[in-house]
Structures are given as structure tokens and as C-alpha cells.
Amino acid sequence: MSTLRTEEMTLNMGPQHPSTHGVLRFIVRADGEVMREAIPDVGYLHRSIEKIAEKVGYHGFMPYTDRVDYVCAMFTNQGWGMASEKLANIQVPKRGEYCRAIATEFNRLASHLLSVGTMGMDIGAMTPFTHAIREREMINDLIEELCGARLTFNYMRIGGVAWDLPPGWREKALAYLDHFEPILDEYNALISYNKIYIERLANVGIISADEAVNYNLVGPNLRGSGIKWDIRKDLPYSVYSEFDFDVPVGKGEWGKLGDAMDRYMVRIRELKESVKILRQALKQIPAGPVLAKVPRNFKPPAGECQIRVESARGDMGWYAVSDGTGYPWRVHVRTGSFAAMGIIQKLSQGLMIADLVTLIASLDVIAPEIDR
């Protein structure tokens, strides 16, 4: 048998593949079922969004930011809004900030629900996906009432938000949160503590705390490795310093610290924290205007700024350079998914092919956010 010649098989996973969460390609070198390596190949969804910003101006760029990450578009809206406001030194009214916080936290719920749902689907269980999507639909309904769109919201403006909360919306949102919280326990009982589910997720794609920092992971991926770092808590922006919430981190309860199960459970626990924040925000929201006076011909003084937003996929950085005209000179977005792609090649070594799917889902990468 020792003379039997064997060779590795090169598999092409994607760009059209149900588990790559968009147009994303992996070149997998596999020895039977065991992967030697999976090399990510990004760029299939590149739309030059950063370059577009230089041509459409500050106000006009807002709808484009939705497309940076269409699963949690509120955060990209907010990121661009905050960057522009910082350039021009505009103060957002208090109610506007609260509207932003409410909208983004609802969006975080929707995004995390999609993430945990597709996690179930990627390891072969369809039911959790439909249950998560059912809840996400209701959130989409709420957001639709708020801003008229269900996916690419375009809700925020430079200096606040476009529309105030509609009449009666606050009660509806609170009622939804009452409905949603017990469902989370049900979801956990249904899938999170399922034996097969834990077996599939635990000890897969272990990222140590050092590795997570070195590879520049952010958001739930970083917290899954046990590092308590949340922009909302550590570098508070908007009105997050007024809310009382925890930052859940991975504890390695089912396997080693920093495995796929930890990242998954961080998302599940963040759902609870978001509900907590939403309850406080909906209770404390002050009266007043939602949009600051911003000139239609928006020309911030020359300069540059960098802001950070804690999006559903982690620390999202917006860097903008103004040259004093109505068009930004340069815009750059730093996204969590792109950073997460870097570690896949290392983590994939020695995993099974089926685990690559788990790994991608646990890192919660979204193709448009990688390429922009």
C-alpha cells in the first residue's frame, strides 16, 4: 500500500455556492475529506463603492452606503453620517441619536438572527433558519414602517435621521421585544443545545485570543475568543454611554475557547443585550427634533477623520478626507468581514470540508462587506 500514489484534490468552492454567503470563492486543497488548505479568493462583489463617494458628494453617498453591508445597512448609514458630521463638526439632536440607536439595534437583531439562522442551515438543519427568518421578518416590518425599506434602509442623514418614529411605533416595538425574548430561549432549546449541533460546532476553527488580535478580528469573532472589546462600551459613540448592557464574551463552555460554538453563542447572547438596549432606548427617548440643520450644499472644511462604529460584524471604521469641496477626496471603509477572511486560510488547515462551511458561517462573513 505504501507504493500507492495519492494526490491532493483541488476543489473550487464558489463563487456560486450556497454556503459562501454571497459571491465568494475558496480554492480548497483537500486530501479526501480533510482540507490541507482553503485559500479565499475575494473580489467578485467589488463595486467601487469608495470611489463612488468621490463622485456623488456627501448627501448623495448615503444610499450607496447601504450596499456596503446590506445585511446591516443601518450601521453603514450611521458610519457615513458620523464621519461627515465629524468633518463638519455638526451636533446631532438627542432624539436623532436615539432614533439611530434604536434603528441600529433592531438592525443588529436582524443581522444576528440571519447569522445564527444560516449557521443552522449550513450544518444541515433547515428549521432554525426558517424560525430565525420568521423573527427577522417581523423586525423588517418594524423597520419598514420606520423608513420604508426592508433591506437597504437609507434611513439616516448627515445630522440625524430622515424621519421621526411614526405614531404608535414605540408601542409596537416594545410589544415585539416582549414577543421576541422568550422566542430566544425557545430557539436555544431547539438548536443551540442540540447534541449534534454542539458536536459540529465545538472545537472547530479555534482562534486563540492572541491570534484574534493579530489577525485583526473584530466584533463577535473577537469576543468569541474571550476578549471583551466592544466599541459601544469601550469607545462610546452616539448615546451608548447612557445604556446599561453587558458585553458577552466566549467562555469555551463546550470546547476550547474561541471555537465556532463560542462565536455562535456570543451572537445569541448579544441578541439579549440588544433587546436590553432597545428597551432602555425606547423608554428614555427624549422629545425634540431628529435632524440638525445641515446645508443642502454640504461642504465640510478640509481635513480628515476616522470614526468607529460597532456594527453587527464588529468594529467598522469609516475614514474620510475632505478637501473643502462638496465631494469627499477619499473615503475608506474598514470592515469586519474582510479581516475575518484573512484568518480562514490558517484555520482551515486540517479541518474537514464540512467544517469549512461551519467556519465561514461562524465568522459571519458577508460578501459585499468584504469587497465593497
Partner: protein
């Protein structure tokens, strides 16, 4: 069967045709009726039932447009697939590619020959019935492997190889789990095994002794694995291999694979029902043979369909295991436990050659306790979830 042929020959319906030719015609016609009239529609209807059941588990509605409650959806799908182009990839092995679906369907239709629907309704009561059943269902692996190889697609190949590894491995615990029953009855005939049981649950082999109870469960799980069902649907894992061995197939050939999969559910259920759940056994309420046969037919089908429903339930609930977990489950747990079952049953039979009726009652009582605990657990989650429940089967 033979009597029927003799009668037809004696009646002279076919004139002076040789007897063997008449026999062949009768067999072909009967087989066609059974396969086209029972097996294929069953597979189709199961596909509809599965989609509806699955939809309910997932809080969806499911197909409800074609016919009453979408009942004719399976026909519409069949017609659609027949009308579709039969794409054969240029670089594939054309001959193997074309043959593969037929082999899979063959493995699905052959077991129907020994399907014991009632005390009289059986095509061929072979003395090696259950052995025949397990061996012909194993032909599936040839078809699936052939499909995976001939597609000339790496993902399909992985699907085919996975399927081969899985089916061949799980044949062993499945085969070993049949042995306890054979040891107790001393026959391999389907009817013989059923006749050795009674209609009451305490006389079923499921509750005959602790070993058979374990064997029944191992057999069911192994049969799910052999039938490529969730949680063992690795060969067609849609999120990893897209559709595995069936990726390159289209049209009717594609449908053949899935028809075989759905139809196999009935065969899995029939094997378990025959071996462990008393088959068609029904209390002797009438001396009329026709009435009794109908009652037995209903009994058999109710038991089988319950098992089919359980497999749909499992599919709606569980995620998929990984290939190494699948293999370790088989070789580290199922195979040793199956051997223990076999030896344990042999000792049991040596001690109580006629069976132990007290053990039957005790096991049955324990079975009821298990069922009650299970139902209570389900009710607990139902109460806790505070979800609105819809018990309307039709929407």
C-alpha cells in the same frame, strides 16, 4: 403467485401459449401494477407529505396550490421533470451517467417483491425474505457511486464516495440488528417473522427482551443512514456538496434519485415494522379472509407510515453530522452494541426458548413510561414557548 399462474393457465385465457410465457406475462403485469400503481405514487405522495410536514415544523405553509391542499403537487413536479431537458455533461461517462439513476430505482423497487402487506398480500414469500430485502436495498450504493463517478465533477465524486463509505459501513450494524429476530424465530421469511409475533405490543419483538429493543433502534438509525436521510444526508449535503452525486443530473434522471429516496422511507418503515412491530398482525375479529386482509393491510400501513412520519420529523429537527462523527458512531458504538445484542439474544433464547412473556409485559410497560416522559417533555416546551399553535392540517 404460483396458484394464480396455475389458475390462469388452467382457465386457458392465453390459449396454447407455453406455460412459462404465461407466467412471465403475469409476473410482468403484476409487477408493473405494483410498481407503477403503488411504489411510484407512494414515493410521490411521500414527497408531498414530507414537504407539508416539514413546512409545519418550520412554521411555513408548504405546497398548497395544485389540487386540494396541494395534494397533486407531486404529479405536477413529475410532469415538470419529464418535460425538462435531460442534460448530460459532455465530459461525463455517458453510459454510466445514464444507467446510474435506473440502478437506484431498481434498488428501490426490488424490495417491494417481499413486502408483507397482509397475511395473503405478498408478491413472493421467499424463505430468505429479509436477507433479500437487505441485499437488494444495498444496490443503491452502486448507483450512487456510479452517478458520482460518471458525473466527472469533484463535488459529485465526494458525494458518491461518502455515500459508498456510509452505506457499506451501516450495512453491518443493520445486518447484525436483524440477527436477534432471526435467532428468535429461526426463519428469514417475512411472513414467518410476522407470524411469530402477536398483535398486542407485548408480543412484538420490539419488547421481547432488552436486546431486541436496542436492536430495533440501531436498525432504524442505520436504515436512515443507508437511505441518506437527515441527520445522515452527507452524500447530498446541500450546504457543502450542493446536491452531491445528483449535482449534474437534471430532469427525470434527477427525479429518479429522489423518488428512490422517498420511496425508501416506506421500505425502512416496512423492515422495522416486520421485524419488530408485529407487521400486519391484527386481532382475529372476523372469519372473512377479505375483511381480515383489509384490516391487516391498514394495520401494516399505519405502522409503516408512523415510522415514515418519524423520519420526516427527524429531518425537520436535526442538523447533519460530520463524516468522521458518522463513522465513529457506526464503528465505535453501533457495531459493538450490535454484537452484544446478538450474543445477548442468543443467551436469552437458550434460557427461554419459547420467549419470556413476563419480560414482554415489563418491556412494554417501560416503553409506555418512555413515551410518557417524551410527551411530557414535548408538552413542557410547548407550554414554555407560548407560541400560538395551529392544529389545522389544511391551510
Amino acid at each position: 403467485m404460483q396458484e394464480l399462474i396455475n389458475n390462469i393457465v388452467a382457465a386457458g385465457t392465453f390459449g396454447k401459449m407455453p406455460e412459462t410465457l404465461v407466467a412471465a406475462i403475469v409476473i410482468i403485469v403484476l409487477s408493473a401494477v405494483v410498481f407503477l400503481g403503488i411504489a411510484f405514487p407512494f414515493a410521490g405522495i411521500v414527497s408531498w407529505v414530507e414537504r407539508r410536514v416539514w413546512a409545519r415544523i418550520q412554521s411555513r405553509v408548504g405546497p398548497n396550490r395544485v389540487g386540494p391542499n396541494g395534494f397533486l403537487q407531486w404529479l405536477a413536479d413529475g410532469v415538470k421533470h419529464v418535460c425538462k431537458e435531460d442534460v448530460i455533461p459532455t465530459d461525463s461517462d455517458h453510459q454510466l451517467f445514464k444507467i446510474a439513476p435506473y440502478l437506484v430505482v431498481l434498488a428501490f423497487v426490488l424490495p417491494w417483491a417481499v413486502m408483507p402487506f397482509s397475511s395473503s398480500l405478498i408478491l413472493a414469500d421467499m424463505n430468505v425474505g429479509i436477507l433479500y430485502m437487505t441485499s437488494v436495498t444495498a444496490i443503491t450504493v452502486v448507483g450512487v457511486l456510479m452517478a458520482g463517478w460518471a458525473s466527472n465533477d469533484k463535488w459529485s465524486l465526494i458525494g458518491g464516495i461518502r455515500s459508498a463509505a456510509q452505506i457499506v459501513s451501516y450495512e453491518i450494524p443493520a445486518g447484525l440488528s436483524i440477527f436477534p429476530v432471526v435467532l428468535m424465530t429461526g426463519t428469514l421469511s417475512m411472513q414467518g417473522i410476522i407470524r411469530a409475533q402477536g398483535w398486542a405490543p407485548q408480543h412484538w419483538f420490539l419488547f421481547a427482551n432488552p436486546f431486541t429493543f436496542v436492536a430495533a433502534n440501531i436498525l432504524y438509525v442505520s436504515a436512515l443512514a443507508e437511505g441518506n436521510r437527515t441527520p445522515f444526508d452527507l452524500p447530498e449535503a446541500e450546504s457543502e456538496l450542493v446536491a452531491g452525486f445528483a449535482t449534474e443530473y437534471s430532469g427525470m434522471r434527477y427525479l429518479f434519485f429522489f423518488m428512490a429516496e422517498w420511496g425508501n422511507l416506506f421500505i425502512i418503515g416496512a423492515i422495522i415494522t416486520t421485524l419488530f412491530l408485529g407487521g400486519w398482525q391484527f386481532p382475529q375479529v372476523s372469519n372473512n379472509a377479505v375483511v381480515m386482509n383489509i384490516l391487516q393491510l391498514i394495520t401494516f400501513n399505519v405502522k409503516v407510515l408512523f415510522l415514515v412520519f418519524v423520519s420526516m420529523w427527524i429531518r425537520g429537527t436535526l442538523p447533519r453530522v460530520r463524516i468522521d462523527q458518522l463513522m465513529s458512531l457506526c464503528w465505535k458504538y453501533f457495531v459493538p452494541i450490535s454484537f452484544v445484542n446478538m450474543i445477548g439474544t442468543a443467551i436469552w433464547v437458550a434460557i427461554w426458548p419459547e420467549g419470556n412473556s413476563v419480560a414482554g409485559y415489563i418491556m412494554f410497560a417501560l416503553g409506555i413510561v418512555l413515551a410518557v416522559i417524551f410527551i411530557q417533555r414535548v408538552m413542557y416546551y410547548l407550554r414554555r414557548s407560548r407560541m400560538e399553535l395551529y392544529f389545522r392540517p389544511t391551510i
